[in-house]
Protein backbone atom coordinates (compact mmCIF):
# COMPACT_ATOMS: atom_id res chain seq x y z
CA UNK A 1 0.00 0.00 0.00
CA UNK A 2 1.22 3.48 -0.82
CA UNK A 3 -0.25 6.89 0.02
CA UNK A 4 -0.90 9.44 -2.74
CA UNK A 5 2.29 11.32 -1.88
CA UNK A 6 4.37 8.16 -1.90
CA UNK A 7 2.82 7.04 -5.17
CA UNK A 8 3.41 10.42 -6.83
CA UNK A 9 7.02 10.51 -5.65
CA UNK A 10 7.61 7.01 -7.03
CA UNK A 11 6.00 7.83 -10.39
CA UNK A 12 8.12 10.97 -10.69
CA UNK A 13 11.25 8.87 -10.39
CA UNK A 14 10.08 6.64 -13.21
CA UNK A 15 9.30 9.39 -15.75
CA UNK A 16 11.23 12.20 -17.35
CA UNK A 17 10.34 15.79 -16.45
CA UNK A 18 11.24 19.12 -18.03
CA UNK A 19 10.95 22.69 -16.75
CA UNK A 20 8.73 25.39 -18.25
CA UNK A 21 11.80 27.05 -19.79
CA UNK A 22 12.90 23.80 -21.44
CA UNK A 23 9.32 23.17 -22.62
CA UNK A 24 9.14 26.61 -24.19
CA UNK A 25 12.41 26.02 -26.06
CA UNK A 26 11.03 22.76 -27.43
CA UNK A 27 7.75 24.45 -28.40
CA UNK A 28 9.65 27.07 -30.41
CA UNK A 29 11.93 24.55 -32.12
CA UNK A 30 11.38 23.81 -35.82
CA UNK A 31 9.91 20.40 -34.99
CA UNK A 32 7.95 20.97 -31.76
CA UNK A 33 6.55 18.14 -29.63
CA UNK A 34 2.81 17.64 -29.15
CA UNK A 35 1.65 19.28 -25.92
CA UNK A 36 -1.08 17.24 -24.25
CA UNK A 37 -3.32 19.04 -21.74
CA UNK A 38 -4.95 16.53 -19.36
CA UNK A 39 -6.87 18.96 -17.09
CA UNK A 40 -10.63 19.36 -16.61
CA UNK A 41 -12.70 21.19 -19.25
CA UNK A 42 -13.14 24.39 -17.22
CA UNK A 43 -9.37 24.62 -16.67
CA UNK A 44 -8.71 24.19 -20.40
CA UNK A 45 -11.20 26.92 -21.21
CA UNK A 46 -9.36 29.38 -18.99
CA UNK A 47 -6.29 29.09 -21.18
CA UNK A 48 -3.84 26.49 -22.47
CA UNK A 49 -0.36 26.25 -23.99
CA UNK A 50 -0.53 27.34 -27.67
CA UNK A 51 -1.12 24.43 -30.06
CA UNK A 52 -1.81 21.93 -27.26
CA UNK A 53 -4.31 19.13 -27.76
CA UNK A 54 -6.88 18.52 -25.07
CA UNK A 55 -7.66 15.13 -23.51
CA UNK A 56 -9.08 15.13 -19.98
CA UNK A 57 -7.19 12.71 -17.74
CA UNK A 58 -10.23 10.45 -17.42
CA UNK A 59 -10.36 9.93 -21.21
CA UNK A 60 -6.63 9.79 -21.85
CA UNK A 61 -6.23 6.06 -22.41
CA UNK A 62 -9.28 5.76 -24.68
CA UNK A 63 -8.67 8.86 -26.82
CA UNK A 64 -4.94 9.42 -27.16
CA UNK A 65 -4.35 6.83 -29.89
CA UNK A 66 -7.00 8.52 -32.02
CA UNK A 67 -5.43 11.94 -31.51
CA UNK A 68 -1.74 10.90 -31.71
CA UNK A 69 -1.54 7.61 -33.63
CA UNK A 70 2.23 7.93 -34.09
CA UNK A 71 3.76 6.59 -30.90
CA UNK A 72 7.26 7.89 -31.59
CA UNK A 73 6.07 11.51 -31.76
CA UNK A 74 7.52 13.47 -28.82
CA UNK A 75 4.86 14.42 -26.24
CA UNK A 76 4.91 16.97 -23.41
CA UNK A 77 2.13 16.28 -20.92
CA UNK A 78 0.89 18.93 -18.54
CA UNK A 79 -1.80 19.78 -16.02
CA UNK A 80 -2.02 22.64 -13.52
CA UNK A 81 0.95 21.79 -11.29
CA UNK A 82 2.47 18.65 -12.78
CA UNK A 83 0.93 15.98 -10.51
CA UNK A 84 -1.97 14.67 -12.60
CA UNK A 85 0.20 14.85 -15.70
CA UNK A 86 2.92 12.80 -13.97
CA UNK A 87 0.47 9.90 -13.75
CA UNK A 88 -0.63 10.57 -17.34
CA UNK A 89 2.99 10.53 -18.49
CA UNK A 90 3.52 7.17 -16.86
CA UNK A 91 0.41 5.74 -18.51
CA UNK A 92 1.44 7.03 -21.94
CA UNK A 93 4.84 5.35 -21.59
CA UNK A 94 3.08 2.13 -20.70
CA UNK A 95 0.90 2.53 -23.80
CA UNK A 96 4.04 2.56 -25.93
CA UNK A 97 4.70 6.27 -26.46
CA UNK A 98 8.48 6.33 -26.62
CA UNK A 99 9.25 10.01 -26.07
CA UNK A 100 6.92 11.43 -23.43
CA UNK A 101 7.88 13.92 -20.72
CA UNK A 102 6.02 15.68 -17.93
CA UNK A 103 5.97 19.45 -17.60
CA UNK A 104 7.13 19.93 -13.98
CA UNK A 105 5.21 22.74 -12.30
CA UNK A 106 2.48 22.51 -14.96
CA UNK A 107 0.83 25.48 -16.62
CA UNK A 108 1.02 27.43 -13.33
CA UNK A 109 4.79 27.53 -13.65
CA UNK A 110 4.49 28.19 -17.40
CA UNK A 111 2.40 31.29 -16.68
CA UNK A 112 4.69 32.37 -13.83
CA UNK A 113 7.48 32.55 -16.42
CA UNK A 114 5.32 34.93 -18.44
CA UNK A 115 4.88 32.48 -21.35
CA UNK A 116 1.95 32.82 -23.72
CA UNK A 117 -1.35 30.97 -23.28
CA UNK A 118 -4.21 30.60 -25.72
CA UNK A 119 -7.73 31.24 -24.49
CA UNK A 120 -9.87 28.82 -26.52
CA UNK A 121 -13.14 29.89 -28.05
CA UNK A 122 -15.62 27.63 -26.41
CA UNK A 123 -18.88 26.10 -27.49
CA UNK A 124 -21.95 26.95 -25.47
CA UNK A 125 -23.62 24.14 -23.51
CA UNK A 126 -26.35 24.08 -26.22
CA UNK A 127 -23.72 23.77 -28.97
CA UNK A 128 -21.88 21.10 -27.03
CA UNK A 129 -25.09 19.07 -26.93
CA UNK A 130 -26.08 19.79 -30.54
CA UNK A 131 -22.68 18.89 -32.00
CA UNK A 132 -21.82 16.14 -29.50
CA UNK A 133 -21.57 13.47 -32.22
CA UNK A 134 -19.10 15.67 -34.12
CA UNK A 135 -17.09 16.38 -30.98
CA UNK A 136 -16.59 12.64 -30.50
CA UNK A 137 -14.90 12.27 -33.92
CA UNK A 138 -11.16 13.07 -33.75
CA UNK A 139 -11.32 14.44 -37.34
CA UNK A 140 -13.83 17.09 -36.24
CA UNK A 141 -13.63 17.66 -32.49
CA UNK A 142 -14.00 21.06 -30.90
CA UNK A 143 -11.51 22.75 -33.21
CA UNK A 144 -13.18 21.35 -36.31
CA UNK A 145 -16.60 22.36 -35.05
CA UNK A 146 -15.35 25.92 -34.54
CA UNK A 147 -14.04 25.83 -38.12
CA UNK A 148 -17.45 24.77 -39.36
CA UNK A 149 -19.14 27.54 -37.36
CA UNK A 150 -16.72 30.06 -38.87
CA UNK A 151 -17.08 28.69 -42.42
CA UNK A 152 -18.92 30.38 -45.27
CA UNK A 153 -20.35 28.21 -48.04
CA UNK A 154 -22.10 29.57 -51.14
CA UNK A 155 -24.76 27.33 -52.65
CA UNK A 156 -25.56 27.98 -56.29
CA UNK A 157 -29.15 26.79 -56.43
CA UNK A 158 -31.71 25.88 -53.76
CA UNK A 159 -33.18 23.07 -55.84
CA UNK A 160 -32.69 19.32 -55.98
CA UNK A 161 -28.99 19.34 -55.12
CA UNK A 162 -28.97 22.47 -52.98
CA UNK A 163 -31.76 21.11 -50.75
CA UNK A 164 -29.94 18.15 -49.18
CA UNK A 165 -26.58 19.92 -49.36
CA UNK A 166 -27.86 22.98 -47.49
CA UNK A 167 -29.78 20.91 -44.94
CA UNK A 168 -26.74 18.83 -44.02
CA UNK A 169 -24.38 21.81 -44.00
CA UNK A 170 -26.80 23.72 -41.75
CA UNK A 171 -27.24 20.72 -39.45
CA UNK A 172 -23.44 20.36 -39.27
CA UNK A 173 -23.21 23.94 -38.04
CA UNK A 174 -21.66 25.65 -41.06
CA UNK A 175 -22.14 29.18 -39.77
CA UNK A 176 -22.90 31.11 -42.94
CA UNK A 177 -24.73 29.73 -45.98
CA UNK A 178 -25.18 31.98 -49.01
CA UNK A 179 -27.86 30.79 -51.42
CA UNK A 180 -28.28 32.08 -54.97
CA UNK A 181 -31.61 31.26 -56.61
CA UNK A 182 -34.10 33.44 -58.46
CA UNK A 183 -36.96 30.95 -58.59
CA UNK A 184 -40.11 30.47 -56.54
CA UNK A 185 -41.24 27.12 -55.12
CA UNK A 186 -43.36 25.17 -57.59
CA UNK A 187 -45.41 22.04 -56.94
CA UNK A 188 -43.21 20.02 -59.30
CA UNK A 189 -40.19 20.84 -57.06
CA UNK A 190 -41.50 19.12 -53.95
CA UNK A 191 -40.86 15.58 -55.23
CA UNK A 192 -37.15 16.14 -54.44
CA UNK A 193 -36.43 19.66 -53.13
CA UNK A 194 -36.76 18.79 -49.47
CA UNK A 195 -35.65 22.13 -48.07
CA UNK A 196 -39.05 23.48 -49.24
CA UNK A 197 -42.52 22.34 -48.25
CA UNK A 198 -46.11 22.54 -49.43
CA UNK A 199 -46.49 25.64 -47.26
CA UNK A 200 -43.80 27.46 -49.26
CA UNK A 201 -45.51 27.10 -52.67
CA UNK A 202 -45.15 30.36 -54.58
CA UNK A 203 -42.55 31.70 -52.16
CA UNK A 204 -39.02 32.61 -53.32
CA UNK A 205 -36.81 29.56 -52.85
CA UNK A 206 -34.16 31.53 -50.98
CA UNK A 207 -36.76 32.72 -48.42
CA UNK A 208 -38.22 29.24 -48.02
CA UNK A 209 -34.76 27.70 -47.63
CA UNK A 210 -33.69 30.40 -45.16
CA UNK A 211 -36.70 29.68 -42.96
CA UNK A 212 -36.15 25.90 -43.00
CA UNK A 213 -32.39 26.07 -42.41
CA UNK A 214 -32.48 28.65 -39.64
CA UNK A 215 -35.25 26.68 -37.91
CA UNK A 216 -33.10 23.56 -38.16
CA UNK A 217 -30.11 25.29 -36.58
CA UNK A 218 -30.12 28.76 -34.97
CA UNK A 219 -26.29 28.88 -35.27
CA UNK A 220 -26.67 29.24 -39.04
CA UNK A 221 -27.11 32.55 -40.81
CA UNK A 222 -28.51 32.26 -44.34
CA UNK A 223 -27.59 35.04 -46.76
CA UNK A 224 -30.19 35.01 -49.55
CA UNK A 225 -29.49 36.19 -53.09
CA UNK A 226 -32.85 36.16 -54.79
CA UNK A 227 -31.49 36.43 -58.29
CA UNK A 228 -30.06 34.30 -61.06
CA UNK A 229 -26.27 34.16 -61.16
CA UNK A 230 -24.96 36.21 -64.09
CA UNK A 231 -21.72 37.79 -65.28
CA UNK A 232 -23.15 41.08 -63.96
CA UNK A 233 -23.79 40.03 -60.35
CA UNK A 234 -21.21 37.27 -59.78
CA UNK A 235 -18.46 39.64 -58.59
CA UNK A 236 -20.80 41.34 -56.09
CA UNK A 237 -21.91 37.99 -54.68
CA UNK A 238 -18.37 36.58 -54.48
CA UNK A 239 -17.10 39.80 -52.87
CA UNK A 240 -18.80 38.70 -49.66
CA UNK A 241 -16.08 36.05 -49.29
CA UNK A 242 -16.74 32.30 -49.49
CA UNK A 243 -14.64 29.31 -48.50
CA UNK A 244 -16.39 26.76 -50.72
CA UNK A 245 -18.97 26.92 -53.53
CA UNK A 246 -21.50 24.09 -53.87
CA UNK A 247 -22.64 24.11 -57.49
CA UNK A 248 -26.12 22.74 -58.10
CA UNK A 249 -27.02 24.71 -61.21
CA UNK A 250 -29.13 23.14 -63.93
CA UNK A 251 -27.63 24.68 -67.04
CA UNK A 252 -24.29 24.96 -68.79
CA UNK A 253 -23.90 28.75 -68.99
CA UNK A 254 -24.11 28.95 -65.18
CA UNK A 255 -21.72 25.99 -64.77
CA UNK A 256 -19.07 27.70 -66.92
CA UNK A 257 -19.68 31.04 -65.20
CA UNK A 258 -19.30 29.47 -61.73
CA UNK A 259 -16.13 27.77 -62.95
CA UNK A 260 -14.45 30.85 -64.38
CA UNK A 261 -15.35 33.01 -61.36
CA UNK A 262 -14.18 30.40 -58.86
CA UNK A 263 -10.86 29.89 -60.66
CA UNK A 264 -10.18 33.64 -60.62
CA UNK A 265 -11.16 33.88 -56.94
CA UNK A 266 -9.34 30.67 -55.93
CA UNK A 267 -12.47 29.14 -54.36
CA UNK A 268 -12.96 25.34 -54.53
CA UNK A 269 -16.18 24.19 -56.19
CA UNK A 270 -18.04 21.03 -55.20
CA UNK A 271 -19.77 20.05 -58.41
CA UNK A 272 -22.84 17.87 -58.66
CA UNK A 273 -25.13 17.15 -61.57
CA UNK A 274 -28.02 14.80 -62.15
CA UNK A 275 -30.15 13.44 -64.95
CA UNK A 276 -32.88 10.80 -64.64
CA UNK A 277 -31.09 8.00 -62.72
CA UNK A 278 -27.49 9.17 -62.93
CA UNK A 279 -25.40 11.64 -61.06
CA UNK A 280 -21.88 13.04 -61.26
CA UNK A 281 -19.87 14.51 -58.39
CA UNK A 282 -16.39 15.99 -58.27
CA UNK A 283 -14.36 18.82 -56.74
CA UNK A 284 -12.70 21.52 -58.82
CA UNK A 285 -9.86 23.13 -56.92
CA UNK A 286 -7.23 24.56 -59.32
CA UNK A 287 -5.83 26.73 -56.49
CA UNK A 288 -4.55 23.48 -54.95
CA UNK A 289 -3.39 21.96 -58.22
CA UNK A 290 -6.57 20.22 -59.33
CA UNK A 291 -8.43 20.48 -62.63
CA UNK A 292 -11.33 22.86 -63.34
CA UNK A 293 -14.67 22.30 -65.08
CA UNK A 294 -13.19 23.35 -68.42
CA UNK A 295 -10.42 20.73 -68.04
CA UNK A 296 -13.15 18.10 -67.70
CA UNK A 297 -15.57 19.47 -70.30
CA UNK A 298 -13.75 21.88 -72.63
CA UNK A 299 -16.93 22.34 -74.64
CA UNK A 300 -20.57 22.29 -73.61
CA UNK A 301 -22.70 19.71 -75.39
CA UNK A 302 -25.13 20.84 -78.07
CA UNK A 303 -28.58 21.62 -76.60
CA UNK A 304 -30.15 18.35 -77.83
CA UNK A 305 -27.57 16.45 -75.80
CA UNK A 306 -28.14 18.69 -72.78
CA UNK A 307 -31.68 18.09 -71.64
CA UNK A 308 -32.59 19.57 -68.27
CA UNK A 309 -34.38 17.65 -65.52
CA UNK A 310 -37.46 19.68 -66.45
CA UNK A 311 -37.35 17.98 -69.85
CA UNK A 312 -35.93 14.57 -69.04
CA UNK A 313 -37.06 14.05 -65.47
CA UNK A 314 -35.12 12.87 -62.45
CA UNK A 315 -35.67 10.27 -59.74
CA UNK A 316 -36.50 12.25 -56.59
CA UNK A 317 -33.99 10.56 -54.32
CA UNK A 318 -31.07 10.94 -56.76
CA UNK A 319 -30.35 14.60 -55.92
CA UNK A 320 -30.61 13.53 -52.27
CA UNK A 321 -27.68 11.17 -52.78
CA UNK A 322 -25.62 13.46 -54.99
CA UNK A 323 -26.33 16.59 -52.91
CA UNK A 324 -25.35 14.71 -49.75
CA UNK A 325 -22.07 13.67 -51.39
CA UNK A 326 -21.53 17.36 -52.19
CA UNK A 327 -22.14 18.29 -48.54
CA UNK A 328 -19.63 15.62 -47.53
CA UNK A 329 -16.97 17.07 -49.83
CA UNK A 330 -17.70 20.63 -48.64
CA UNK A 331 -17.31 19.59 -44.98
CA UNK A 332 -14.00 17.84 -45.75
CA UNK A 333 -12.68 20.91 -47.56
CA UNK A 334 -13.58 23.10 -44.55
CA UNK A 335 -12.09 20.67 -42.05
CA UNK A 336 -9.08 19.96 -44.30
CA UNK A 337 -9.53 16.27 -43.57
CA UNK A 338 -9.62 13.15 -45.73
CA UNK A 339 -9.10 12.84 -49.46
CA UNK A 340 -10.94 15.49 -51.46
CA UNK A 341 -12.67 14.37 -54.66
CA UNK A 342 -10.45 16.72 -56.71
CA UNK A 343 -9.17 14.97 -59.84
CA UNK A 344 -11.79 12.23 -59.60
CA UNK A 345 -15.29 12.21 -61.07
CA UNK A 346 -17.76 9.90 -59.37
CA UNK A 347 -20.50 8.46 -61.56
CA UNK A 348 -23.50 7.15 -59.64
CA UNK A 349 -26.13 5.01 -61.36
CA UNK A 350 -29.24 4.73 -59.21
CA UNK A 351 -30.87 2.06 -61.40
CA UNK A 352 -27.95 -0.35 -61.26
CA UNK A 353 -26.71 1.00 -57.91
CA UNK A 354 -23.13 1.32 -59.10
CA UNK A 355 -20.49 3.91 -58.36
CA UNK A 356 -17.78 4.36 -60.97
CA UNK A 357 -14.82 6.67 -60.84
CA UNK A 358 -12.87 8.25 -63.67
CA UNK A 359 -9.73 10.38 -63.48
CA UNK A 360 -9.90 14.09 -64.25
CA UNK A 361 -6.56 15.70 -64.99
CA UNK A 362 -5.64 19.36 -65.04
CA UNK A 363 -5.19 20.40 -68.67
CA UNK A 364 -2.06 22.55 -69.08
CA UNK A 365 -3.73 23.99 -72.20
CA UNK A 366 -6.94 24.90 -70.35
CA UNK A 367 -8.06 28.38 -71.41
CA UNK A 368 -8.84 29.33 -67.77
CA UNK A 369 -6.57 27.44 -65.37
CA UNK A 370 -3.87 26.31 -67.83
CA UNK A 371 -0.30 27.53 -68.12
CA UNK A 372 -1.19 30.35 -70.57
CA UNK A 373 -4.83 31.29 -70.01
CA UNK A 374 -6.61 32.80 -73.00
CA UNK A 375 -9.86 33.64 -71.18
CA UNK A 376 -9.21 36.32 -68.58
CA UNK A 377 -12.61 37.99 -68.23
CA UNK A 378 -16.24 36.93 -68.21
CA UNK A 379 -17.62 35.97 -71.62
CA UNK A 380 -21.19 35.71 -72.86
CA UNK A 381 -21.93 32.30 -71.39
CA UNK A 382 -25.27 31.85 -73.14
CA UNK A 383 -23.65 32.43 -76.50
CA UNK A 384 -20.69 30.22 -75.57
CA UNK A 385 -23.07 27.36 -74.75
CA UNK A 386 -25.31 27.93 -77.76
CA UNK A 387 -21.99 27.88 -79.63
CA UNK A 388 -20.98 26.95 -83.17
CA UNK A 389 -21.75 23.30 -82.44
CA UNK A 390 -25.43 24.08 -82.11
CA UNK A 391 -25.70 26.55 -84.97
CA UNK A 392 -24.15 24.15 -87.45
CA UNK A 393 -27.09 21.84 -87.18
Amino acid sequence: MASYRELLARIREEIEEISAIEARERLESPDPPVFVDVREPDEWEEGHIPGAIYVPRGRLESRIEGLVPDKVRPLVVYCASGARSAFATKVLSEMGYTDVVNLAGGIVDWKRNGFEVTIPRVLSPEQRARYSRHLLIPEVGEEGQQRLLDARVLLVGAGGLGSPASLYLAAAGVGTLGIVDGDVVDESNLQRQIVHSTESLGEPKVASAKRTLEALNPDVRVVPFQERLTSENVERILAEGWDVIVDGADNFPTRYLVNDASVWHGIPVVHGSIYRFEGQVTVFDPARGGPCYRCLFPQPPPPELAPSCAEGGVLGVLPGIIGSLQANEALKLILERGEALAGRLLLFDALATTLDEVTVRRDPACPICGDSPTITEYVDYVEFCAGPVATER
Partner: protein, 98 residues
Amino acid sequence: MTRVRIPPMLRAEVGGAREVEAQGETVGEVIEDLVERYPALRAQLYRDGDLGEFVNVYLGGEDVRTLEGLDTPVRDGSTLILLPAMAGGSPGVGRYEA
Protein backbone atom coordinates in the same frame (compact mmCIF):
# COMPACT_ATOMS: atom_id res chain seq x y z
CA MET B 1 -15.77 -7.29 -77.84
CA THR B 2 -15.67 -4.09 -75.85
CA ARG B 3 -18.47 -3.01 -73.54
CA VAL B 4 -19.54 0.58 -74.09
CA ARG B 5 -21.38 2.41 -71.31
CA ILE B 6 -24.12 4.61 -72.75
CA PRO B 7 -25.03 7.81 -70.85
CA PRO B 8 -28.72 8.32 -70.00
CA MET B 9 -29.25 11.05 -72.60
CA LEU B 10 -28.17 8.69 -75.41
CA ARG B 11 -30.04 5.56 -74.40
CA ALA B 12 -32.99 6.20 -76.69
CA GLU B 13 -30.56 5.80 -79.62
CA VAL B 14 -29.57 2.30 -78.47
CA GLY B 15 -33.00 0.97 -77.55
CA GLY B 16 -32.73 1.98 -73.89
CA ALA B 17 -29.65 -0.11 -73.06
CA ARG B 18 -27.23 1.01 -70.37
CA GLU B 19 -24.36 -0.88 -71.92
CA VAL B 20 -23.87 -2.24 -75.45
CA GLU B 21 -21.05 -4.07 -77.22
CA ALA B 22 -18.87 -3.00 -80.11
CA GLN B 23 -15.67 -4.20 -81.72
CA GLY B 24 -12.36 -2.67 -82.68
CA GLU B 25 -8.62 -2.55 -82.02
CA THR B 26 -8.61 1.11 -81.02
CA VAL B 27 -10.97 3.51 -79.27
CA GLY B 28 -11.76 5.12 -82.64
CA GLU B 29 -12.58 1.77 -84.24
CA VAL B 30 -14.83 0.74 -81.35
CA ILE B 31 -16.79 4.00 -81.59
CA GLU B 32 -17.01 3.72 -85.38
CA ASP B 33 -18.37 0.17 -84.99
CA LEU B 34 -20.79 1.43 -82.34
CA VAL B 35 -22.31 4.09 -84.61
CA GLU B 36 -22.58 1.54 -87.43
CA ARG B 37 -24.57 -0.73 -85.14
CA TYR B 38 -26.67 2.20 -83.83
CA PRO B 39 -26.78 4.74 -86.66
CA ALA B 40 -28.92 7.17 -84.63
CA LEU B 41 -25.89 7.72 -82.38
CA ARG B 42 -23.79 9.18 -85.18
CA ALA B 43 -25.68 12.47 -85.27
CA GLN B 44 -25.36 12.78 -81.49
CA LEU B 45 -21.67 12.01 -81.20
CA TYR B 46 -20.08 13.23 -84.43
CA ARG B 47 -19.46 16.73 -85.72
CA ASP B 48 -17.99 17.25 -89.21
CA GLY B 49 -17.12 13.57 -89.45
CA ASP B 50 -15.21 13.48 -86.14
CA LEU B 51 -16.12 12.56 -82.60
CA GLY B 52 -17.39 15.78 -80.95
CA GLU B 53 -15.17 17.58 -78.43
CA PHE B 54 -18.08 17.62 -75.99
CA VAL B 55 -18.03 13.84 -75.57
CA ASN B 56 -15.52 12.47 -73.08
CA VAL B 57 -14.41 8.89 -73.62
CA TYR B 58 -12.83 6.94 -70.76
CA LEU B 59 -10.89 3.71 -71.00
CA GLY B 60 -9.90 2.10 -67.71
CA GLY B 61 -11.03 5.25 -65.90
CA GLU B 62 -8.72 7.52 -67.95
CA ASP B 63 -9.84 10.16 -70.43
CA VAL B 64 -8.52 8.90 -73.79
CA ARG B 65 -7.40 12.48 -74.56
CA THR B 66 -4.70 11.91 -71.92
CA LEU B 67 -3.78 8.56 -73.58
CA GLU B 68 -3.43 8.26 -77.35
CA GLY B 69 -6.83 9.69 -78.19
CA LEU B 70 -8.83 7.69 -80.70
CA ASP B 71 -5.69 5.69 -81.53
CA THR B 72 -5.55 4.28 -77.98
CA PRO B 73 -5.44 0.48 -78.28
CA VAL B 74 -8.41 -1.33 -76.71
CA ARG B 75 -8.00 -4.78 -75.21
CA ASP B 76 -10.78 -7.29 -75.69
CA GLY B 77 -13.15 -7.31 -72.71
CA SER B 78 -12.46 -3.77 -71.54
CA THR B 79 -15.10 -1.09 -70.93
CA LEU B 80 -15.40 2.29 -72.59
CA ILE B 81 -17.45 4.98 -70.86
CA LEU B 82 -19.02 7.68 -73.05
CA LEU B 83 -19.69 10.78 -71.01
CA PRO B 84 -21.17 14.03 -72.20
CA ALA B 85 -21.50 16.75 -69.54
CA MET B 86 -24.75 16.85 -67.58
CA ALA B 87 -26.06 20.08 -66.13
CA GLY B 88 -29.07 19.02 -64.08
CA GLY B 89 -29.74 20.74 -60.79
CA SER B 90 -31.69 23.83 -59.85
CA PRO B 91 -33.37 25.77 -62.66
CA GLY B 92 -33.48 29.05 -60.75
CA VAL B 93 -29.83 29.93 -60.80
CA GLY B 94 -29.05 30.96 -64.35
CA ARG B 95 -30.64 33.11 -66.99
CA TYR B 96 -30.37 30.38 -69.59
CA GLU B 97 -33.54 28.41 -70.20
CA ALA B 98 -32.91 25.08 -71.87
